[in-house]
């Protein structure tokens, strides 16, 4: 009898120890939020923000992983449909939208969406609302407002005391700023137009620099569907603007380094880019004396690209509540200022006091003012799965076209635009999105 009781007692004891051993670590374990990003500057900011958030919320652990942009594309394509993604993704809206359309991503919870409606610029909020469901699909974190950087020393050297206001004046400035060697090669571009590069970037720069001023877009809505928006005389003028710069006025060359690196090396006088370049120049070319101005006006429109990069939560996340809380926290006033100062990327919020940022980056004021200027029209990408393919294909054709001086002939130029537009329409048709 005693022996039996003793055995029961021992068994119960072992069972209790086992259960305590299993349950207590589970109860005590932290909520681990994994986050993927594709931007090195954002990686550093998000990592440090994660450490601060962990101090405020000891039960949460933030793990941020950086992938090169294309690697993140591939990883998302493989992981998300398999339900193996992270808890939070910091990525381009156009990169994430197809996953939303396929029902693989969570929509922004109502309370967070309501907060976003009150604190984000209206056009940003609206651009990220899915027209099919009327729900906010990503929580915008920062914005790609494009402004024109210029080298103040070169402007002074050329005798300019004012900034160009429209694209024609800008071309005249570029003609005075460009430098050549004895063989006639461009050694300093008057205006860097980013004539090459991978994926869709070249098309997006072309959109901001030439399509916007001439009032055309890659695609135009027609009812609830779309058509190529540049197969007209304004689209042709946009391409001609580039061809003139390269082959007629020779203010830009295919054989010179461009973009932030070219500007940092001092071989570019003006170029359009987002605010992150300020952090790049601080770290890599502090000797460059620069500032920025809003994109110049065109004959039909004044504006530029203002695409959103934001935070999304896959449906497979098991910590949605905690993840959305962390995502919302990243947008508070303090983090918005830190994001601007540390990463250089422009926070999405316009209603924050950025005076601390202006002390570090005086040119940041231009970006914030552009965001808050209603006359300056910012264009975000359309919410549709085909948009990346459309931009990439346009970019491929543009890169070929920029090399051809024979396209200064209007007939040949019209044919190039026509072929490009046919391809855009063909892609839309593939996705059953082509308007008749």
């Amino acid at each position: 009898m005693y022996k039996k009781s003793f055995v029961y007692l021992v068994m119960t004891g072992i069972l209790t120890v086992c259960l305590v051993g299993i349950i207590s670590p589970l109860a005590m374990s932290k909520v681990r939020i994994s986050m993927w990003t594709a931007f090195p500057e954002m990686f550093e900011f998000e990592k440090s923000a994660g450490r601060r958030y962990e101090k405020l919320h000891p039960n949460v652990e933030i793990e941020v992983t950086l992938f090169p942009q294309r690697a993140l594309d591939e990883k998302a394509a493989a992981a998300l449909p398999a339900g193996e993604g992270p808890d939070l993704i910091d990525f381009h809206k156009i990169g994430v939208y197809p996953y939303h359309a396929a029902g693989l991503m969570d929509v922004v919870p109502s309370d967070v969406a309501e907060w976003a409606r009150e604190n984000l610029p209206a056009f940003v909020f609206n651009a990220n609302v899915d027209p099919r469901t009327n729900r906010l699909i990503i929580l915008p974190l920062y914005i790609n407002v494009e402004c024109m950087y210029y080298n103040k020393d070169y402007f002074k050297e050329a005798g300019f005391t004012t900034l160009p206001e429209d694209i024609y004046e800008q071309m005249m400035y570029a003609e005075k700023l460009v430098k050549y060697d004895t063989a006639g090669n461009v050694t300093r571009a008057g205006l860097d137009l980013r004539l090459s590069g991978g994926a869709s970037g070249t098309a997006q720069k072309f959109w901001t620099q030439a399509m916007c001023p001439y009032g055309v877009r890659p695609i135009d809505p027609v009812g609830d569907k779309w058509r190529a928006g540049y197969d007209n005389e304004w689209g042709q003028k946009a391409l001609k603007y580039y061809l003139d710069a390269v082959h007629k006025y020779k203010v830009e060359s295919l054989d010179i380094k461009s973009d932030a690196e070219g500007f940092g090396l001092g071989i570019t006088s003006m170029f359009q880019r987002e605010s992150w370049v300020m952090a790049y120049l601080r770290d890599h070319a502090p000797e460059i004396n620069y500032s920025a101005f809003p994109m110049p006006k065109g004959p039909r429109s004044w504006g530029g690209g203002g695409t959103t990069i934001g935070l999304s939560v896959p449906k497979s996340s098991v910590h949605k509540k905690e993840t959305w809380a962390f995502a919302k926290w990243l947008l508070n006033d303090e983090n918005s200022v830190r994001l601007f100062c540390e990463a250089g990327w422009q926070p999405i919020r316009g209603n924050v006091d950025y005076s601390e940022v202006y002390k570090v980056f005086p040119a940041a004021r231009v970006f914030v003012e552009v965001l808050n200027t209603p006359e300056f029209k910012l264009f975000d990408y359309e919410l549709m799965p085909a948009i990346d393919e459309i931009h990439t294909r346009i970019a491929e054709r543009l890169m070929v076209a920029f090399k051809k001086p024979e396209l200064l002939d209007p007939e040949k130029l019209a044919k190039v635009i026509d072929d490009m537009a046919n391809e855009t329409n063909r892609i839309l048709a593939d996705y059953d999105l082509l308007a008749k």
């Binding site: 449909p81 029902g103 991978g198």
Partner: protein
């Protein structure tokens, strides 16, 4: 008349007896019937052993080779999109689309140029260096190591370094060297024809060491007495190479040609690196077929079309390799 020794006679007799015993054992052996109901000379245990050994191998081959090929063929006949919920059978529409896609056609011809330029260069240069190294040069192992180093380096950093080398203006070493010699700068990146050739150059530079080593191994296995005999017969160096060495390493040359073809036809990394980058890049004109495949499948997520491109790459590659086998083996016969 040749005399046969006593020991040889004994050996011959014992061999005859052995053959007789074996014949008897075969006659006496019991027949088994295989699964088709036909007589089988193997014992059940032997059949089981063979199946045990071969089934895992066959299964593995099916899983990693045959099933993926069949699956790719199946997907290429659909409109499968990684993030489209509904997939439909579209017949040969993906292939028809490729025929009308300018970028695909241009990628196809770029891939053809890759094979036409890279394969002869790799084989001829590989053979030349191997023949030179086989002539007992000083520091032979050092040369072998130097040739082989590029092959073991990962392609991504290699391609990035070459891209720096060809950077335009005076920022790239290639143009800097030309400039210091008083020569005009070359538009390495902006002229698509030159850009494709320098990209092929990177591919050849990277793989050349591999071919040097395999040809050298082949040449070292050619018996030396054949070379000495040819010298005694008055053959020149070139005749020894042409009539003795090259025919004897023909299987290795065939292997080299096949490998060089497959690698050139499936080149991707160096093309990808050269076309990327916002500071400077070649533009889309140097795209090859595998780049197109990558873009369709992993950038646009269009798996149906991606599989169609991969099937085209596979079938043409197979065709070229079979042709190479036929040509080189025909000459062998």
């Amino acid at each position: 008349m040749r005399l046969v020794s006593l020991s040889d006679q004994r050996k011959f007799l014992s061999l005859k007896i052995d053959m007789k015993r074996n014949t008897n054992s075969i006659v006496k052996k019991k027949f088994y019937y295989n699964w088709l109901g036909r007589p089988n000379s193997l014992k059940r245990s032997q059949v089981l052993f063979i199946l045990t050994v071969f089934i895992p191998l066959i299964a593995l081959f099916l899983i990693i080779r045959i099933i993926p090929i069949v699956t790719v063929f199946g997907i290429s006949l659909t409109n499968l999109h990684l993030i489209r919920p509904v997939t439909k059978f579209v017949g040969i529409r993906n292939f028809v689309h490729l025929l009308g896609d300018e970028q695909f056609i241009s990628s196809f011809f770029n891939s053809v140029e890759y094979v036409v330029v890279a394969v002869p260069l790799e084989i001829v240069l590989g053979l030349t260096f191997a023949l030179m190294l086989n002539r007992k040069v000083k520091f032979e192992s050092l040369y072998e190591t130097l040739y082989f180093i590029p092959y073991i380096l990962p392609m991504v950093p290699v391609a990035i370094i070459w891209k720096w080398f060809y950077t335009p203006g005076s920022f790239g070493l290639a143009n800097y060297l030309l400039g210091s010699l008083g020569l005009p700068y070359v538009p390495w990146m902006s002229n698509p024809k030159i850009a494709l050739l320098i990209t092929i150059g990177i591919h050849v530079w990277k793989n050349l060491g591999y071919f040097v080593i395999i040809f050298l191994v082949g040449l070292k296995n050619v018996p030396n007495n054949l070379r000495e005999a040819s010298k005694i017969d008055g053959a020149t160096n070139w005749q020894t190479i042409r009539l003795i060495e090259l025919p004897l390493i023909k299987p290795i040359i065939l292997y080299g040609v096949v490998m060089a073809t497959v690698w050139s036809w499936s080149a991707f990394t160096e093309v990808y690196i050269m076309t990327q980058g916002t500071d400077i890049s070649t533009g889309a004109e140097i795209q090859v077929l595998v780049y197109r495949l990558y873009q369709e499948a992993f950038v646009f997520h269009n798996m149906g079309r991606g599989c169609a491109v991969s099937l085209v790459v596979f079938l043409i590659s197979l065709g070229i390799v079979l042709l190479e086998f036929k040509i080189l083996r025909w000459k062998e016969r």
